[in-house]
Symmetry: C2
Subunit: 300 residues, 2 copies
């Protein structure tokens, strides 16, 4: 395939907060953002006006106007819908198009879509992101990339603009697998910090001191650093929602069970996030798991 340049036309499918900020970032970097599409048409319309770009009325219209299509959608079902289902898909007229899929979805759906892209003469990379909204806006994402090495190399100008670090993992599915593992372990560490801080609070310890001591000892984790204070102060505005955490832990958990491994921590963590969702608290940030572990926060 041709190497991408900063005159490659880039379409976006899925312009929630992550996708929209990636589009802004590439626009700032001088790439022509050629079309935007979202099932939430208000969000897509607002972004098309902001970036002075086409509001695509259909998926195949995005492909028609783009050399590269970046997708950031919700889950496997959404991936199925944009690539494979019904009369309007991204793969219509997709020969020579490069698709870059950034959502955290299962390795299985990536494999399915890779096969469909092969049949359509399109190229595909999976680039799940281990970062959040400010990093998307500033081109400082941490990307794990899976696909053909030649395609990864050809896409490098775009990947460079989006990321501060991009690690090539291997063929399609390897990056999605890695991402599921990262989030599984992150969620376990988050749940562990929530139990530690919740118990410390119940026992009357000073949580500022507890967080300080945790941070200097074997209890330290990235999750403690990013979420510990939010757990203490109940600041659960979502950067990465509890519902997403439940989904991602579920992906990894299923992979582990398929391998016959005892995933007891992953399972306990997923159950906690499922409980939040059941209580209509899935919109909270993943730090919201502390609502379950601090005394008297949850309704009986």
């Amino acid at each position: 395939m041709m190497n991408m340049t900063n005159s490659s036309r880039i379409g976006f499918v899925g312009v929630g907060r992550m996708g929209a900020n990636m589009a802004r970032c590439l626009n700032d970097a001088g790439f022509p953002v050629s079309a935007v599409y979202d099932v939430n048409t208000d969000e897509a319309k607002a972004l098309s006006e902001e970036l002075n770009t086409l509001l695509a009325a259909s998926l195949h219209e995005v492909t028609q106007h783009s050399d590269v299509v970046i997708t950031v959608v919700t889950d496997d079902n959404a991936m199925q819908a944009i690539y494979l289902d019904g009369d309007d898909t991204l793969l219509q007229g997709a020969e020579g198009t490069l698709f870059i899929n950034c959502a955290t979805v299962t390795p299985a759906i990536h494999q399915t879509i890779r096969t469909a892209c092969d049949a359509a003469g399109a190229e595909v990379l999976e680039c799940p992101m281990a970062s959040s909204i400010p990093q998307a806006r500033n081109g400082e994402l941490y990307l794990m990339c899976g696909g053909k090495a030649s395609v990864f190399k050809a896409a490098m100008p775009i990947i460079d603009a989006l990321s501060s670090q991009a690690v090539y993992i291997g063929e399609v599915t390897t990056a999605a697998t890695m991402k599921a593992l990262v989030n599984m372990v992150m969620n376990i560490n988050t749940a562990g910090a929530a139990e530690g801080l919740g118990l410390a609070d119940a026992l009357g310890l000073d949580l500022d001191l507890v967080r300080h001591i945790f941070s200097q000892t074997g209890a330290n984790s990235r999750a403690l650093q990013t979420d510990g204070e939010d757990m203490q102060r109940r600041g659960h505005e979502a950067y990465f929602s509890a519902a997403h955490a439940a989904k991602d832990s579920g992906i990894a958990l299923k992979m582990g069970k398929d391998e016959g491994l005892p995933m007891v921590l992953a399972e306990a963590t997923k159950n906690q996030y499922d409980t939040l969702v059941k209580h209509n608290l899935g919109h909270l940030d993943k730090s919201g798991i502390a609502e379950l572990t601090f005394k008297d926060r949850m309704p009986k």
Copy 2:
């Protein structure tokens, strides 16, 4: 009480690898190590010869020859045995003696011993350690200290010699509580890393790359840093044994259940360490939990 100086005579009870190295450290720092005692008399004898100090034949003899007695014993039962049970205890003739208890044991036993020390006219500090053997040898322990603030201050020359950092937490039981929480969260993060690496291995990912990516993302933790490579390479020589991990998670778990909190991660982690102990693998380092999460490592 009088301030301690580097001519204060220091006795040791419990001279396993941690206690023995703390004794060597204080000896190097110029403190007179006045007596050593251990139920394992071979270990005590060897250390008494190495440091040219008294091999105490009884507990009360340690007290008799010491201004300060540092204890590093196994568990609550051992604490009960050296302070309270039978005809020979540390509290005989203990008026004016300072006891510094460094083992990770329950807040409840610290409270019991504090009451007994009060009755005997002795002072007591709890100083659980968030470090391991090399730090003990080099006077670089991380100490969490509980007891009267005046006693903590008086003991500072000894604490300084043993530690690179010592944090005063509060009255007796607060440091033991903090330590139990630290180890509970550390063990959860260890168990989480073991599940992530075990699943990654089963799925055929390169574990060097996985550990690198975990370390740069939300999956990072101190446990990953200290134990991740050992999990991968099965290097489970014990610095902190699985049996100790089971004990410490158990202490925190009981505190949490007493508070009516849902300690699902702590419980899943304790169950894993209990499983190792049941399989006669309690002597492995805590990283040995990966023997349960990597495919085909455990016998059926």
